[in-house]
Symmetry: D2
Amino acid sequence: MIVEMRTGASKREIDEVVQRAKSLELGVQLNEGTDKTVVAILGSNTGQLATDVFAVLPGVEQVTRIMKPYKLAAREFKGEDSIVSVDGIEIGGRRIVLMAGPCAVESEAQITAAVKAVKEAGACILRGGAFKPRSSPFSFQGLEDAGLALLLQTREQFGIPVITEVVDPHDVEKVSKYADILQVGARNMQNFPLLTEIGKSKRPVVLKRGLSATVTEWLTAADYVLAGGNEQLILCERGVRSFEDSTRFSLDIGSIPVIKKFSHLPLIVDPSHAAGHYSLVPAMAKAVVAAGADGLLIEVHPNPKEALVDGLQSLSPSDFTRLVGELRPIAKSVGRYI
Amino acid sequence: MIVEMRTGASKREIDEVVQRAKSLELGVQLNEGTDKTVVAILGSNTGQLATDVFAVLPGVEQVTRIMKPYKLAAREFKGEDSIVSVDGIEIGGRRIVLMAGPCAVESEAQITAAVKAVKEAGACILRGGAFKPRSSPFSFQGLEDAGLALLLQTREQFGIPVITEVVDPHDVEKVSKYADILQVGARNMQNFPLLTEIGKSKRPVVLKRGLSATVTEWLTAADYVLAGGNEQLILCERGVRSFEDSTRFSLDIGSIPVIKKFSHLPLIVDPSHAAGHYSLVPAMAKAVVAAGADGLLIEVHPNPKEALVDGLQSLSPSDFTRLVGELRPIAKSVGRYI
Amino acid sequence: MIVEMRTGASKREIDEVVQRAKSLELGVQLNEGTDKTVVAILGSNTGQLATDVFAVLPGVEQVTRIMKPYKLAAREFKGEDSIVSVDGIEIGGRRIVLMAGPCAVESEAQITAAVKAVKEAGACILRGGAFKPRSSPFSFQGLEDAGLALLLQTREQFGIPVITEVVDPHDVEKVSKYADILQVGARNMQNFPLLTEIGKSKRPVVLKRGLSATVTEWLTAADYVLAGGNEQLILCERGVRSFEDSTRFSLDIGSIPVIKKFSHLPLIVDPSHAAGHYSLVPAMAKAVVAAGADGLLIEVHPNPKEALVDGLQSLSPSDFTRLVGELRPIAKSVGRYI
Amino acid sequence: MIVEMRTGASKREIDEVVQRAKSLELGVQLNEGTDKTVVAILGSNTGQLATDVFAVLPGVEQVTRIMKPYKLAAREFKGEDSIVSVDGIEIGGRRIVLMAGPCAVESEAQITAAVKAVKEAGACILRGGAFKPRSSPFSFQGLEDAGLALLLQTREQFGIPVITEVVDPHDVEKVSKYADILQVGARNMQNFPLLTEIGKSKRPVVLKRGLSATVTEWLTAADYVLAGGNEQLILCERGVRSFEDSTRFSLDIGSIPVIKKFSHLPLIVDPSHAAGHYSLVPAMAKAVVAAGADGLLIEVHPNPKEALVDGLQSLSPSDFTRLVGELRPIAKSVGRYI
């Protein structure tokens, strides 16, 4: 941590910074520049220390963090890539894992049609929401427990692992009985009671990036799950909020190499929510595979025109089949397979 | 809702839009322009209808919402300004209500010093966090239940209502026993299980704006609480995320007249989290009062240098006292008082 | 254009809207909804009309544009893809065109080393800045005229077309004598005198997207050049400003399919400025090719450690050679070649 | 400047950083932390040095700037507040200066009606655009030279200084003959040839903040004008681009205390462009005065319904008169007058 003193800061003010560092058992090195004094605070845990601890002291102009605020999610903590294994399917290995299915479970007929379509096309994990966080209380909120039951039934009949969202910390145990992978939605990326509860679980979890979360905040949120003892964590980029309105969210393609550089965690991407329109999904999905992500989470509905939620961004089964065909050679080009 | 057909859309495609509208018991009016056909969808509930319902149909280029997606929070739903009453203090009336205190309750001595200072300066509600949502699991998370107990003790000893944050839907009942006003933090603005639970409560609630929530999304989230039957709702602007990094968040001063125009709900503003630095708080607080907000939520710590959380953005008691003195004539200038 | 009247708007207010439309020789269709009256304004040029024309009238709540504000850049104006031809190299055809070279021309030795490296690796157009728009007046501003002369010399010696930036409208003619392609930088996307001057030129031009320009604003800026008679226009995505700071700008990968959907113009992408760090460029470049862009503009410096400008985001010759090798199979996967 | 080495960086890599600093005649101090080595680069001009100079070296993880990149605009360069004097009117003194008038000069009748209205209401400087930078080439572009002539005529007839925009560097001399204050629009904040030309002029200039410029970039752009020798510089906040769409731009109210803290330059605010709607302008204008700005730039049109540009955000003369009356007591509350 670098503490920059104001021009003309007094010796007493500098001393107070030094004393505080020492009281926290941190090392100190003084840099007396021509204009300003800069105090370097040394120690292996300064990433977890609030900059305010020094910034509040008189005579301090600015405090800059050198160590990252996340710890367990950092590549410095664990050098090799983490792989999450779900029913024998490795996420973070050479295979690019396709998770596909409808936004919401709507009925037995719908989820059955969906699983058949996505499985045949090459997806190996089924997605489907039972609890749907919706902007308005007057929108369809999902089938809830009945949706979970349909997911379980589909899972067993078709022998495919399922991923579904959990929104309430007190539902983690229940949802874990039905699903192979828990999903934390973008709006819950910093729902700390939920993350804490999932940290105690042994279920794999997909942690979506918050709508306006920096990569650093996202990895720091991941630390909540990892610190609880659950290392089966997969990150999911899904676009961030920006001023641009031609897509629903702005897919941050740069986050893929950034995450691979700074973290050991596997990373998948949801191009459907970012695109907001089915016609834009294929180009974005191809970009994701080329950029080095470990998987895709794609919305596919057997009949998008009749979807209760997010029909516009859902691919039809034939569109999805075509897309998977187009993705295979790109995966091969980057040394992966689907 | 306005459904714009693609140039050259077929009669059959237009018919499908019309049929869907009729199946939803909505009216329809066709506008056959020189280049494009536009279908107006008529009905009083189109605000709550997803645009996807029409956007997924073939031949549709774009769907534009005319009615707002929020309903109960809208001024069209309730013409006169809502007033929330807490222990005789009216929020949304002529008085500008000051809520002040430390970010986190740290100890009996700290909260006692804080309440004395803010009460004497002119605040009429005490703020203080017992459950602190923190970016990192390795940061101080608040005193939790012990913090609630200290708040209650302070409340009774000093005869001042208290506001504190609730982060878990299952804590709503418990926290309601200790606090006069529940606070929903920015990161929980779209924590729908939490909003639903608070909707069932009878406690007044402050709903902070999400870090990247539009005003429309914020008012739609308010609908969750209102739809549950809890009308004691106060909005709180606290700055939004932007590219600018000289303040912690960008205080959206424009949201004050916008909310007053489109909603009947009272609105307070937290300049402390937006500023991120105590030296910037007074100017922002003055702007807020001048712009027409109904109150302020300000962080005041008896000794910011020793604060466990957010010390840098906390005012000292003497700074707060000076600020209140400066706010009084501005309040008077806009026909209010403190 | 859709004019939504306020609830309870009077007949006289509605009439005023209708009269204004008629005075502009536009058609009108009234939709009297249950709650509100909506007036559809019909005509083929409403995209170029300011919404204010109706929004200022009494009783109007909101005006929504249906037609796009850009015209000549729109796919509706020209159905087939435009191809810009530079010295026999087609931009917008099946070949993915690589433009590479240093951010700034620094010396004869440097630009010569650069052109050898990028040409051998597979680039067919040389980039190099002579006039450098720099944030601070105290930074290196480019070699200016001497830089142009070096570019011309390199161009003739190595038989490779060059692209260079023009920043002053009065330099368009001069720079056109030295360069095969003019570049309008992101900060000048809405420098209308510059665009107007380039519109009169016959030189191909690369129009970079502004730092916070929407796709719609970008295409509307393109209309300035096209309206002047210069149809040799290539768009260049280079990342937009967002809250995320782990990359220099946020590359808007979604803009690639969006532009391809709404415009006939060729589109290249500059991943170097978006990345800000050489280690992130390859993943982003691969994504760009997979997503369907027509070319790449990449910073390559013979010795990034000694670069006068933007060394951190420059690839070394060996990194660039490796990258081109990795891009070829991806290009092939999407039916293109390099 | 703080150079953070990667964990495990070699002695040779550290030496290379030290050597480069020495070759630039900068001082160096090494901090060997428990995990990482950090090199502090010392010297009074490191603010103007690109971070890339060190970031490109092998073994470097990150480089953080301690000194600000702007110099002449900084309060550290000039301690006391700068005052710009226009025809005896001091901008940056105790008086809050109102500049008002139409977005564009449209006709003699219009500008005459405008000047009468704004002067009577209390404005002391007339605004009016002759050259209008418009998003689309098909929109009204201003009266250009005829507009300048009308401004000059109005100026002389009514004895009021005028401010008008200049968009082309080669027009600076011409426009300076007609106007008392030159305006650089938001889209030209980083039009460096224009800033350089204005730097050579002796005319006072208002430099608007770019749509997505940070405060730091804005002050660094100001350095271009100041470095040229023109110290008659006034900053103008006008809202920045964000995801929020209920206002045209997001007025960054926090920039007022930030600028006052870090710069000596006077600062005015344009609430009209930020608001985008006349009904939101008064609340925002009041906030601006309360927050400590030195003046306001407000759009007033004698008949907004007939305005050729930006009618929706223009105040009518009676609205403006009422607003000025409301601003006076707020100005007094903060120790100023109008």
